[in-house]
Symmetry: D2
């Protein structure tokens, strides 16, 4: 409950600061017998690694992961999987200045108020580097989901006021676009928009959409542990996320029951929905259709443009934040959203295994 | 973890079905010495009670609460507080028909898929009556917050596309408007809009806004147990909520860092923020300003208008849902939102008490 | 975490004081489709009901259970099962005196220190009546175990220094002996011993043994959630239990590795152990043989014999506790031990379902 | 819940196998501002390090700890503390043989049954090396307790049938005796006893006693989260522990209420107990006197003496376990018992902070 441990049956425990010795995660509750290699983890970490495009910080971290426990002959043993990425490119000097004031839009002030002091180097624990642990654990979760035919796919839905056009989308483009947009035309427009923001020494935000396919109906618990409630917590726990919506989301209030309800229909003996305003979740449980949600990501708070703030010594000052910062968080956050969704799904799939007495009897026989 | 228990240090355990014997909640972790009476609980339950306006179901439940344990001479003893509301106005006959098919927009189908069968009477556990337990527990949480000078206030921000006008708002109106709108002009417009929907045998949705004042800075844990993440889970666990956003929320992606960041400034020695796009939370911790969030509520799925669905026997049919249903969920959900926010705040306030060694030493001396 | 909620996947939430309105429990996480009736619960409650023998308090509570939620047409629905026993025979007058002093061996003093005041009527929440909720929940757990061919059987192993003789034991006698002893000769001796203690206005203690059969190998988690660790917590959470041991227990330290180790042997292709010093648990996981543990129960602290204690007003006094007290707790605690063991087993069986990837793949296909 | 994470507010997450890359722990929930250095951790690890006496395995691991996160300028920051000990002296060759059979008294068989296969090198996760994570986390817990004036002290109470004589005990001897016995005469006798067991190629067990001083009254929760229940779980989760008892423990059943009850008495205005059969805990809460418990440790299961067991290939065989094994586990387990007790105490102290409304109001003002 202390804040860096997440999950019930599939649990992750993350640690590490931006400018400490390293960043890591312990995954507890991964079933035995899953093929798991460092390469599998690395391929996800590479999607959030800095320095790959001009729209990401130019810090050149390798972010190489090492598995320290929990596998034997490339298979999980059922015991905790400890993974670590050592920090290599820490230029703490960049941050000496930060020690004396609170950056607007950052957690400097709240950390200081909560703990009495803070590790000011690069934001310490509130740095985006904290998500390395989430992505490494997410890679394990995705390996499990893969065995069950479940896919989690996130991408940039819009940057600023530039949305993707679903007609032009192609899943393969997500890894091609430097902004993780499946529509390359929109990506190009957004790149230009970002370049103008960078020239203005400013930053931008955007929306990430995530689609989950292959989830059987009935996953999620009906009251407090609703699937959407847990996905909501998971995604809102990612820094910079300011909102989440499922299916028709914030347009649902503008609709009516007759329009917003999704009709059911039999199709070759299977129950289908004729629309998906629900976003694949009814009453907190998956309904067998695609799960769809969107997360609102705020503009990067670290900007070179002048801002007003206060020093710890009691002065009002103007600052201009130097250092190597992302002009936009969205593209690198896409894999973090996927990871948190995957971790949550595995946990809730496991929790759903005890819903029916008949299944339990079958399991133990 | 099984779904009807919520919280870490301040825990609630709810139970009960729409047409069972009653609905209740056990609150575990309420500190000793808090004045608590049935009247205090009842006043909150009355705000969600049906049959009070024409925009709510005409079922006439009394919803009288009884405290069965945990208090002695009108003060809490530190032991579990069991509260129960017996069901009195169950007309199960209304629901016999429902047994044979799955209502669109409801949890009938997902319950059936998860559990193999379901208590079809009035939706059973997925009924809105489930929230009685939340509101009773919320009343306890609010009594605690009241002692700490913290207030949680929710209201209807919009119905359909009719928003309130902040210039015309008055907090007292929330209890005056049948739609819980602090702007009575907007309320009147919305009432007419709802009447038209009712004539069309259709339903409507809306947005609830919640403002929390008096929270000290530093409440919330920095990684997975962020204050916004937990409030998000709490609110998304309420049936019919399709989205949540904090501060600038889904408009943040349209902004830039220089605009969206809230500058800090000293004012008589106190740190203030010059704006509140963050909604009072930075890095998952309260920043000392007002916490602001909004929840999107979908239109009531139970409508008299004809809809397509499927029977359990394998047929495609057209249905028209009879019974006494709310044309809109929003006004009665306002107190549920307040309750879930209050419960979550108490829990996170308690969790925050161990953040500093100096505080702990002082506490035990 | 607050203390009256227990379990991870099969969770129970108990409430109620000795002299409040009632005692109850909410069971969350019971799978759907289990046959469950009030009669099934009542038969377990009857085993702990007072007033049945001269060795139990003569208070004549009926302890009639009512199921308020979670079943439909006599089957569990997967939603919380709320069960309540209303208090009927409260003679609070008996306890007025207690309000002013702290009874030795009771929780009066610690309750007062923890909460600042206490519900002094009959011990309030620390009364043995608190175990009603455990036994009702235990009945649900036993119904689940019964479907899986698992049996939990507890009995009195000794009273004072009078042990049972295994050669004379018969399981049916457990319900015949007023002291829950399977050896009726020992029971008779113990009855005489207890009569002498009662004449001396004193009380006695004893040991309860519990045997669990039918548990498959591999239940329990290897590090902190060991099966014996969780059974230990469950049993030590019962008031008056001062110790627990598994298998050879406190004689193991007097043995040697060569004697204490249980050899394995194939018998018709199945792995058997040639002895069971381990008590059926190796490395925290069930080994497929019988699980055996013993709990030490202290003598009833409420005695009529004169004792020294202190008043809340600051005086040293001599007291003699009146009221209707059990001269021994052991016989009525037997079903409580069974219940806590059963609840723990169900929880750990459910947790063990995700240990192997191959099982999970099979489950979801 | 998955087994390698422990605690509610002060949480530890351990990982690592005997012959993997290393062993570690993440401590989440340590308050900010605590002085913490690697030397402080190392001094505890040195107490469980192998190769120091002839009664411990001759493997020469350095067991050097490194702190990877959570401190800044030698003080904790409130964020997770990751600590690691890399494995250096792995002679996996010793264990090749073990791969083919199940060692009696070990978890080989249960691991195999649970997970389908196992990391057989040195017992993998079920190795005693797993306790390194517990001891490192225990050092953090002890640093916290130290600030609160609370001391946890464990020692060997008996080896085989050789007990210490309290009249001859001196706390300083615990670190002098190779067997962690505070009575050096008993230690000498026990050393000779162990030498004889080693010559017989056999092993021995013993009892560890633990005394906790300085705990205020009222720590522990009255029902399931009793202080003794949680200490019980903590200690029983240590491999080789077969039983635990508090205060008079397994002798309580042989006593009577009048003898076993501890009378209260005022002494200079403070409430004292005239005896401590309760072991410092009444109704699951600390009563302000010393907490006393004892744990029964079984003889080391790894012995060179011939034993019968089975191979995975289906044969019954005789084995003689080679390698460098402890003839007794007790002396090295003493610091593990201290650690688990300290971790549990910190957690329950933190949980107890919300028991009274008056304290909470004071805290937030």
């Amino acid at each position: 409950m202390s804040g860096s441990i997440y999950g019930n049956l599939f649990q992750i425990s993350t640690w590490g600061e931006s400018h400490g010795k390293g960043i890591g995660v312990v995954v507890d509750g991964c079933p035995a017998g899953l093929v798991l290699t460092e390469d599998m983890i690395q391929s996800y970490l590479n999607r959030r690694k800095p320095g790959q495009t001009k729209f990401a910080t130019q810090r050149s971290e390798n972010d190489s992961v090492e598995i320290l426990s929990g596998t034997f002959e490339q298979k999980t043993t059922g015991t905790p999987i400890s993974m670590v990425v050592m920090n290599t490119n820490q230029r703490s000097g960049d941050y000496n200045e930060i020690a004396s004031y609170f950056r607007p839009g950052h957690a400097d002030y709240t950390f200081h108020q909560k703990y009495g002091f803070r590790d000011y180097r690069g934001g310490g624990r509130s740095s985006g580097r904290e998500t390395i642990g989430r992505v490494a654990a997410g890679a394990v979760a995705k390996a499990i989901l893969n065995q069950l035919g479940i896919e989690v796919c996130a991408y940039t839905k819009s940057i600023g006021d530039i949305p993707i056009d679903y007609k032009k989308c192609n899943k393969d483009n997500i890894l091609v676009s430097p902004l993780a947009m499946p529509d390359l035309d929109a990506s190009e427009k957004a790149e230009k928009f970002l370049e103008s923001k960078m020239q203005e020494m400013d930053s931008a935000g955007g929306v990430i959409e995530c689609i989950i396919t292959g989830i059987p109906a009935g996953v999620g618990e009906p009251v407090f542990e609703k699937l959407d409630a847990n996905l909501g917590k998971a995604i809102l726990s990612i820094g910079a996320v300011k909102g989440i919506e499922f299916g028709s989301g914030f347009s649902a209030p503008l609709s009516t029951g007759s329009t917003n309800n999704d009709s059911f229909q039999y199709d070759n003996g299977k129950v289908l929905k004729l629309s998906n305003h629900a976003g694949g979740i009814l009453g907190g449980m998956s309904d067998g259709s695609e799960i769809v949600f969107r997360a609102a990501i705020k503009p990067t708070p670290s900007i070179a443009k002048s801002q007003k703030t206060v020093t710890m010594a009691g002065e009002n000052i103007d600052i201009s934040i130097k250092g190597r910062h992302d002009p936009i968080i969205v593209p690198r956050a896409v894999v973090v959203v996927e990871s948190m969704a995957a971790i949550t799904l595995v946990d809730m799939l496991f929790m759903s295994m005890t819903s029916k007495m008949s299944n339990i009897i079958k399991f133990f026989n």
